[in-house]
Symmetry: C3
Subunit: 412 residues, 3 copies
Amino acid sequence: MELFTTNNVWMMICTALVFFMHLGFSFLEIGLTRQKNTINILFKNMFIICIGLILYSLFGFNLMYPGFDKEALGILGFSGFGLNSPITETGSLDLSYNTGYTYWTDFLFQGMFAATAATIVSGAVAERIKLGSFMIFTIIYVGLIYPIVGSWKWGGGFLDSMGFYDFAGSSLVHSVGGWAALVAVYLLGPRIGKFTSEGKPMVIPGHSITLAAAGVLILWLGWFGFNGGSVLSADPATTSLTLVTTCIAAATGGLSSFLVSTAIYKNYDLTMFLNGILGGLVAITAGADQMSPMDAIMVGVIAGTLIVFGISLIDRLTLDDPVGAIAVHLICGIWGTLAVGIFGKMAGLHQFFVQLIGIVIIGVFCLLTSFFILFSIKKLSGIRVSEQEEIEGLDFHEHGMDAYPDFRINQH
Amino acid sequence: MELFTTNNVWMMICTALVFFMHLGFSFLEIGLTRQKNTINILFKNMFIICIGLILYSLFGFNLMYPGFDKEALGILGFSGFGLNSPITETGSLDLSYNTGYTYWTDFLFQGMFAATAATIVSGAVAERIKLGSFMIFTIIYVGLIYPIVGSWKWGGGFLDSMGFYDFAGSSLVHSVGGWAALVAVYLLGPRIGKFTSEGKPMVIPGHSITLAAAGVLILWLGWFGFNGGSVLSADPATTSLTLVTTCIAAATGGLSSFLVSTAIYKNYDLTMFLNGILGGLVAITAGADQMSPMDAIMVGVIAGTLIVFGISLIDRLTLDDPVGAIAVHLICGIWGTLAVGIFGKMAGLHQFFVQLIGIVIIGVFCLLTSFFILFSIKKLSGIRVSEQEEIEGLDFHEHGMDAYPDFRINQH
Amino acid sequence: MELFTTNNVWMMICTALVFFMHLGFSFLEIGLTRQKNTINILFKNMFIICIGLILYSLFGFNLMYPGFDKEALGILGFSGFGLNSPITETGSLDLSYNTGYTYWTDFLFQGMFAATAATIVSGAVAERIKLGSFMIFTIIYVGLIYPIVGSWKWGGGFLDSMGFYDFAGSSLVHSVGGWAALVAVYLLGPRIGKFTSEGKPMVIPGHSITLAAAGVLILWLGWFGFNGGSVLSADPATTSLTLVTTCIAAATGGLSSFLVSTAIYKNYDLTMFLNGILGGLVAITAGADQMSPMDAIMVGVIAGTLIVFGISLIDRLTLDDPVGAIAVHLICGIWGTLAVGIFGKMAGLHQFFVQLIGIVIIGVFCLLTSFFILFSIKKLSGIRVSEQEEIEGLDFHEHGMDAYPDFRINQH
């Protein structure tokens, strides 16, 4: 009982930290985009948090943890609508549900994860997607696709039976969001002015690097809960090792992005440094409990390097991802999932291939489903705002508001 | 001892989260008001935190937890000045003081709550109250009125004997602040330009919706501690259920404000969404431990709806509440207190009336005392700044500073 | 085992809170400086966090906790490169390493402290130091000097044997940073425009008091972990007392700075209020576990007063410290260390002199080493940017970026 209470306290704190990541995502996204779309992005993010949690309580949680039969294939299951808390004979909450925490904690921790997948997409499609269309996409993707993929591993489905490992979601959360971001960016097309007629990428600067940097530090803080809580108990050895590998990968991810980008572009690029930190965090997420600090250094160094080349690659493909979400969440998510087969306790050729197969299956499923959803919405109601709206800003057109209406500058 | 330590850890973390709400309140308040009064608002908030804590340590804590005699009426008691920690015979802190946490934790957790009541008023009176007068009001209201009301329920006074229920303070914290906000707004009058000569409300836009949105997310995070800590132990079943109902009411509060306001005003209004989240949080606070998730959905949906109509009502009464504090804290505080008698484990006609009686008693007391305090200050030294000061900004006149003195904009 | 788990949870949470202080430091520093150097400051801070953690994992941790021989003098020791986690015979983490937490938690908590020393310097040298030179200084100071000084007390070295007491680092962290800040400010010289040709100090306003105030509240939150975690267990009596003294000293520090500065300058100066809070926090840090709340009030009141006179003194010495780091971290750090001999359980003439000797030894060592490092860098590659770069801003010259490139103001 004492240990149960402690485990539950730890999980509740981690839940709060994962919730707080939404402020980090919001700051990062509005910092790296133009002022005229700030309200729109904040509105999207508030919507994602709220609807994500409600859908997850209505059916997502039960899609993700369907209680698969042992004989079943483990692809799709459902344990009913609503939150059905296990009750003991005396009518109180059945604490034997889990050795680590209560049913309610379980739901809330997983519910906070659910919204994250849509938030990743939000960044990539910023400044040009129709708000209504994005909301419909979010409802379907967070409500159905995310929990189905999650059930394959964390719900005890076929990826789990296969031996696929993803500790806290390099694939199950970050790549799931990343694949949809890739599809959405492709279907939407680039923002006006992002590429010259020859396809040369132009810089469209954001409106507050201060907010972007604050967002990254808040996300790093949130990752204490994202990875620390994924231990699913307060087990001292595993939780504390996980926090160490998480922080070390973040640090080396940032440093390597900084060094590589400075070597190439002869410029101390803060945005690259920030995305390197995030890349390191995403990459360590699949194996944070399986790595030594030295392994984490390697995972982070490679993630930081991938960020620099990845962002450049996305540009060269004339894909427009305003915040670098694809490089951070998809590329580093894949890297981190593979890294479980290369570094740490589980390293081995067999594991490497299992990881690869998992990545491919998740990728194909997410590409197909997100394409189908977004393409359908595009045909039915359109996904992109008008040229006039894009130029004048979504805040004015969709919200009739300005984010900084009374901000005045002194004349010196 | 193990359990005691865990309980105490949980309570300390919740204390830290409630403390952090002050950043949320600050961001919300300065975001929704004009730049020229930013320093003034930050100054007020810093003052509230600091003086609130000190007054609570000198006498507030002992007013609120007076140790009423069982035979006494339980209206007013006092257990002496200063913090008198219980000491065992061997000279160490007496842990038998409480099964859940130490005397020090108890003080600090409750002390963090105390300052909140004044912060609520701060938002409603922003941009026109005299700093000195507000400081005097804060000292009396936080130092005396808040702990006296608190003693009636949480200190074991007559409301507690009556069966009145307020888990974490929909009434005891939020309405106590809300009633004073109502009185203060009435006595102060509206800001210049808020109403036309025909009484038609005008929009006075704030200076950063980004800060306002960040404030709401920080407040939501803080509510993990506000409600989670009000369990007064780390009891797994109750704490985790409380966090679930809290988050669900916040989410449905936001969504319902968004949907209702969009239906009425044909506009995606982010401020309404944000206030809906806060309304849901305030409303669930009275019964967060007594509700099922489905109850919490209902409490939130109604709170979000009340926000839209409440803000409109305040406007029509030609009351000027720049941040919507009255709708959020008073209206939703009352709603949440009543909801304890309508939804959840305690629902019942008797309980409903007990809740109603409690609301009325608290309301009358707070209206009278805050009117007496503010009216006296008004007569003695005035409560409103001069017209020139209001137009030119309180920052320049009271502080000789500008909040963004070196903010420059590039000429494109 | 239950208690061990709880202790470890508490320490991990405190680690997260100390990490979050870096956002507080960043906000404070960029808020109080000019917009044209924002990117540069954020870059420095990101670098400090990342390199600090990596260096600490490679050798800093083992320099600071060298496992001194009992007979040795305890000045310099080293227990080898890298993180060498203690392993039991069965191959799992040896939990008997410590009664309070795991080896990994120990490393991470201490690692988060390490970066703080350089962050303090960062504020003082802002707006004029060469980025490359600052990075070299950081590597040496955080990598070598900080852990060596730390080993003298927390690593069981000669200051510890002597009876010197510094609970959470008024001297070992804050003064260590403060002394280097003093040397750096002296060697760098003031910013262009800070002093008239007659040496009269001018105000160079920062670009966002909002960020500065947010930074202070985040730092206060972080101090829950900084001091609370320095108990090195979740012991209920000590941790909760520590949080109470910490918060009370912060509150009285702020209030006394506010009152003293208002009395002298006839002005409600928010920056003074903010620095007073920080001064109170720094001062209580040395003896937070040894003080009663009444002692904490005295420590805070004196710290707040010292801030007002200290900032004025630095100005009169024509030293240019843009954020007040020397007054906050050095002067209040010294005050707090002395206060251990004046107030609280350890008060006494002998202890006072031991504290004084410790302060002098640390001061001489930090002054000499930081002078040697910075003077060498100055001779080798220079430490100050060119006049043109300083005037046009470091963001443009070192980073080719602007912090708010798309921030636009509506024309009213």
